[in-house]
């Protein structure tokens, strides 16, 4: 029996060390660089961080597991308002509040996903759209949540340090999830769900897991958003926001994690650069989506990870050995 090789044998210690170093770097930047940086720029970077959190969840659900989830902003809303409620009405540390926001969103994901994910893909598309809509109606009609006028008086606690701590946590979580047995199952669900079931794997359960994890990180993004500008409004979580995130995943490339993250960074920063043509932003987005689907449906990185561009040996499942007869 050949000895086991590959990542499993190397052990996780190296990964943990790198992670710790990255966290240290983030807080180092927070302490020494941020105070000297133009707040406008810091703002952009923080917003990029929040986008990254929202996108990584959808990349998992849509890009890797192939589920048509179209209402991601709805989960952000649950996270945002959940965090806001916890922070406004208890004395808990705001970041714990963000964690609760994530949990609330995850729970919402469970409620939405469980009945729907056992049906074929299009139903999920419609339900998630509907969920996005219902959540907003609910918020707008609930005075305790501030209604349509929004919720104000929230503490401003979202800093570069906290944002990117969460980003690193999220990225590590999702990356490790994807590089595990679960990750293989997610990809298999996307590729051929019927075949996967014939192997005795509970595909509905796998889809729900991906969905709930995706919702959690969207909730965290929402939670951080609620503590960013002292107030939140339902209008921040409309379908347009869901499309923003969807565009980042699609343009970055389904089947990749770094692709959508790059796209998220670019598309979040871009409106700032393109401020003069802000009116045309959605038109440019939609054209980008259409053209990408027709001309380069695999997106920016074509389903590969950023690191694969630096490797000479192609990534294992994307070998271009050519289909021999």
């Amino acid at each position: 029996m050949p000895p086991p090789t590959g990542p499993a044998a190397r052990g996780p210690l190296l990964g943990y060390a790198l992670f710790a170093a990255a966290i240290a770097a983030v807080w180092g930047i927070e302490a020494y660089a941020i105070p000297w940086t133009d707040p406008y720029l810091t703002g952009i970077v923080i917003r990029i961080g929040m986008s990254l959190l929202a996108v990584m969840g959808l990349a998992l659900v849509l890009g890797f597991t192939g589920q048509f989830s179209l209402g991601h902003a709805g989960f952000m809303a649950v996270g945002a308002y959940g965090t806001a409620m916890v922070v406004l009405h208890t004395g808990i540390h705001p970041m714990i509040g963000v964690f609760f926001g994530g949990l609330a969103a995850a729970f919402a994901g469970l409620l939405v996903g469980l009945p729907t994910l056992r049906l074929t893909g299009d139903y999920l598309a419609v339900v998630t759209l509907g969920f996005n809509g219902i959540i907003l109606v609910f918020i707008q009609n609930t005075p305790a949540l501030g209604g349509a006028a929004g919720l104000t008086g929230l503490p401003v606690v979202t800093t570069f340090g906290w944002t990117f701590t969460w980003v690193l946590l999220g990225a590590l979580f999702i990356r490790n999830l994807l590089n595990s047995s679960h990750g293989r199952v997610f990809a298999a669900v996307r590729d051929n769900e019927i075949a996967l079931r014939s192997l005795g794997v509970d595909t509905t359960r796998a889809k729900v897991i991906a969905f709930v994890v995706g919702a959690f990180w969207a909730g965290v993004a929402g939670g951080l958003l609620s503590l960013y500008r002292a107030s939140i409004f339902p209008s921040q979580f409309q379908f347009e926001r869901s499309i923003d995130i969807l565009a980042m995943v699609v343009l970055g490339g389904t089947g990749s994690l770094s692709g959508p993250l790059l796209a998220a960074a670019a598309l979040t920063a871009l409106p700032e650069v393109l401020r003069p043509i802000a009116d045309y932003r959605m038109i440019i987005y939609s054209l980008l989506l259409i053209v990408t689907m027709i001309v380069r449906p695999q997106g920016l990185l074509g389903g590969k990870e950023l690191i694969d561009l630096f490797r000479r040996r192609p990534a294992a499942a994307k070998a271009s050995g050519g289909k021999a007869a």
């Binding site: 849509l62 192939g66 048509f68 179209l70 009945p115 729907t116 049906l119 074929t120 893909g121 299009d122 139903y123 598309a125 419609v126 339900v127 759209l129 509907g130 969920f131 809509g133 219902i134 109606v137 609910f138 707008q140 009609n141 019927i194 379908f239 499309i243 969807l246 699609v250 389904t254 009116d279 045309y280 959605m282 038109i283 987005y285 939609s286 054209l287 980008l288 989506l289 259409i290 689907m293 027709i294 449906p297």
Partner: protein
Amino acid sequence: MILFLQQLINGLSLGAIYALIALGYTMVYGTLQLINFAHGEVYMMGAFAALYLAKWLGVDQNPSVPGVIVVALGAMVFCAVLGMTIERVAYRPLRKSSRLNMLITAIGVSLLLQNIGLLAFGALQSFPSLLPEAKWELTAGLVLRSQDVQIFSTTVALMLALHHIVERTQIGRAMRAVSHSRDTAALMGIPVDRVVSFTFAIGSVLAGAAALLIALDKHKIEPTMGSAYGLKAFVAAVLGGIGSIPGAVAGGLLLGLAETLVSGYIASTWRDAIAFILLIGILLYKPSGLFGKHTVEKV
């Protein structure tokens, strides 16, 4: 009781509109298994096309029946062309691609049209009366408007026409074959591309008619009306059984009635949520919808 009957009239009126739009969704889904997100925008564009055509022809100054008919035909033809163009340019190249890609393109087209609309038409625009209007008080408190009559009669006429086309013509038979199995239909010599185009055309025509009816009813149109009505009409199609023509009609009427009754008896703020609550309900109990066929995936 009177209130209930009034709600009934209003509900059926709204429901008829939903039904007309829902038919477009259901027919395209039946043929291509695609949720045509852009359909709502075609409907919206139809309303604006009707507005500009009416103004250009002067029908808004001189309301008349022939004038309205010309505007109606113009709007419907415009929608048909728009719908077919979208299919040809945005969807056909992706037919061999994954369904997710087609869905995303549809979302893209929908957004594009809506935002072009916002830029071109601004916000709300008022829509003039193109026909003399009347109200008939059936009994105290129960009002039937000429618009309601227009909506009912037009919808019934269009649905009879659709039924005739789908059940009794060759192209209708071809449509049914393609929605059963595109590959088999192709193998049998059916010109699938043309049938798909035709399907889009018919659906768009119905949407155009619905747009004019709503414009004459509410006297206002706006670039966001497509997403508002479109999504609900799609929910109606799912309620009735996506892919089923009678289902779209039933779903549309049911949704219209439900929304109006909830709005009237409970609270109007929950009106928008009703569609989604019904949707969740049907998906939990009978996902294939009221009239849905249990589609068996070929293994």
